[in-house]
Symmetry: C2
Subunit: 365 residues, 2 copies
């Protein structure tokens, strides 16, 4: 295999550790769990989890059961919390892989309690209280039932009460204080155990929101979950495509599918080896940018499945050659910048990354 | 491992074969190559290529060198054409894996010719002539040079002259006829060899565009590349998520991140186990639909990374239970419908599919 790569995602593992430390400073003495669902936000779960474990992280969150099963051998001694919960047919795999479910309803509490009874032992669980997200978690009604009948928790050792903020990206939203109050009220009704409310956005809301554990995802990967403020996190992910071909076209010629780009002047085009199947969303056509040596260049015409064309006319000739890298996000173009161009959030920019793009890990921060 | 799955992509391999036969009928006697780049448009390259080979397909297109290397052991006897071409550092891997590059410039022709000379043998190649896409391929100027100096092809056996249509999705576009004329003019200037112009959209333009080989991608996977006309292809891909939790909320309550959905009536919500990291694009919020037993239900609030919430109030109670599947595309919701809701093309809906979603293969058409 040659070392030719049409595109490359560079992942700075050292920067992930540095972001982990930043969260420890901001949220301490609360513990910091690593959120590594969605293949560690597209960065590659095994490498990320291993490096976080070296840095002292002993608790991980995943979404799917299958993600927990894949993570178990990577961090054999750590706690793994599975957000999807414990549907009856998931119970055997949860137990055999020593995975701790996040129980989202009285029904899941009942099936986990029954599993403990059958085993004649005690099983750990996280219990998720909904405080206004209206997605997963015990509703206010279910919370009342549980508070009245703690017997429902027989055989279950609650290692964490958790909830999830809906509007943590907006520090001015009244939802934050409302959910904080509801969570504190819920905790007062329930048997004592550690508690967790904040993911990356919640960490930035301050220590009131930190409780005993915080659960950063986006922040670990360098994203800014409160776009109105400066980003406290170091850049982790850099996406580059190589120039496969340069092409000079005349004024008036069109480019790409649908011939949507028309050259307003004699134009030099660079074709780079990545496209929307690699995660450069199609919506970036006419709105997104690349960067060559720190200089931004516009995308010309539609984003293709495997290719993208840029107008590099304004880049000096010696600085644009076949084989040269073009950055799509990284040290020049932030995740916030490309997310704004795509009309989405930095989360989706990261998780859209395809496994087709080789992931190259660097130790440096 | 339990058979619990939060989401599932069903791939009907029999329908892929049936679509391959449809293209044979429409384009015959032209040969039909299988385009399996981008992990066979997200369907899983190994299973798809193996099944196409059983159906008689002996030529495949991929984009990246790495894709060709992965495909070689799957179809050991077939021709594999690599669209990215033959940059100098790709040459050794191309040769050792018996991959045929699509040469996109005089520079690539020179390096491939040099490789043949060094080996003292002849190497196969496809040569790509740009006829108006202005992406990859020999420009008009380069074509003129090549036509004057066939010696540049020394050591190269051209197995295909190819070009690519920019506007084949629009049968009324004048670009189609213009590119056809330019391609015929180019062929008349060059040494005789088989020729190819049409991918799925080109197939639908009629036999004038078929030449000796057509290269369907989207059509094989059931997509309609001319959305203004009925789709001649059978449905291949079906995406389902399971209901993880049902929740009753009051009038006025909000749902999800940013609290963007407000219930206008007492509302029943279903939370399904897939999100934008699985390929259900975030832009579908407020625009996309799911389907339960053939009945469409709207997405409520934002699409989360791992979860999606739907308003199932209007589905009869017995037909919405925890564990039930919700279709996001398939037999009820076409790729065109979800692509329109997402403001994109069906291509991106398919290639956005994540490997996190288990792929389940069915033989039926």
């Amino acid at each position: 295999m040659s070392d030719f790569e049409a595109a490359r995602l560079t992942v700075r593992l050292g920067a992930i550790v540095s972001n982990f430390r930043t969260v420890q400073r901001m949220a301490g003495p609360a513990a910091v769990a690593g959120v590594v669902k969605a293949d560690a936000y597209g960065m590659g779960m095994p490498a990320v989890a291993r490096r976080l474990a070296e840095a002292g992280c002993d608790t991980y969150f995943v979404a799917r059961l299958e993600e927990g099963v894949a993570l178990r051998p990577v961090v054999p001694g750590a706690r793994i919390f599975v957000l999807d919960g414990a549907s009856p047919d998931a119970v055997p795999a949860l137990i055999s892989n020593r995975l701790t479910p996040v129980l989202n309803s009285l029904g899941e509490i009942a099936s986990w309690s029954a599993a403990a009874r059958e085993m004649g032992s005690t099983l750990d669980a996280v219990v998720h209280i909904d405080t206004g997200m209206n997605r997963l978690g015990l509703s206010a009604g279910e919370l009342g039932v549980l508070a009245e009948a703690a017997k429902r928790l027989d055989g279950i050792r609650v290692v964490l009460w958790m909830s999830h903020l809906a509007c943590a990206d907006d520090p001015d939203s009244k939802m934050n204080r409302l959910q904080l109050d509801r969570f504190q009220t819920a905790l007062a009704m329930l048997p004592p155990a550690p508690a967790s409310l904040a993911s990356s956005g919640g960490v930035l809301l301050g220590k009131d929101y930190a409780f005993d554990m915080v659960r950063p995802g986006l922040g670990l990967y360098g994203g800014n979950s409160q776009p109105t403020k400066p980003n406290p996190f170091a850049t982790v992910a850099l996406l580059h495509g190589r120039i496969l071909q340069l092409r000079q076209i005349d004024k008036g010629e069109s480019v790409g599918y649908g011939a949507t780009f028309h050259a307003a002047r004699p134009t030099v085009l660079a074709v780079a080896g990545l496209g929307y199947t690699d995660g450069l969303m199609r919506v970036l056509a006419g709105r997104g940018k690349g960067a060559i040596g720190g200089v931004r260049v516009p995308i010309a015409g539609r984003v293709s499945m495997d290719l993208i064309t840029l107008d590099v006319t304004d880049v000096p000739e010696g600085k644009r050659r076949v084989g040269d890298p073009i950055e799509f996000f990284g040290d020049t173009i932030t995740l916030d910048e490309i997310a704004a161009a795509a009309g989405t959030a930095p989360y989706e920019i990261l998780t859209a990354m395809s496994r087709r793009v080789p992931h190259v890990y660097e130790d440096a921060a």
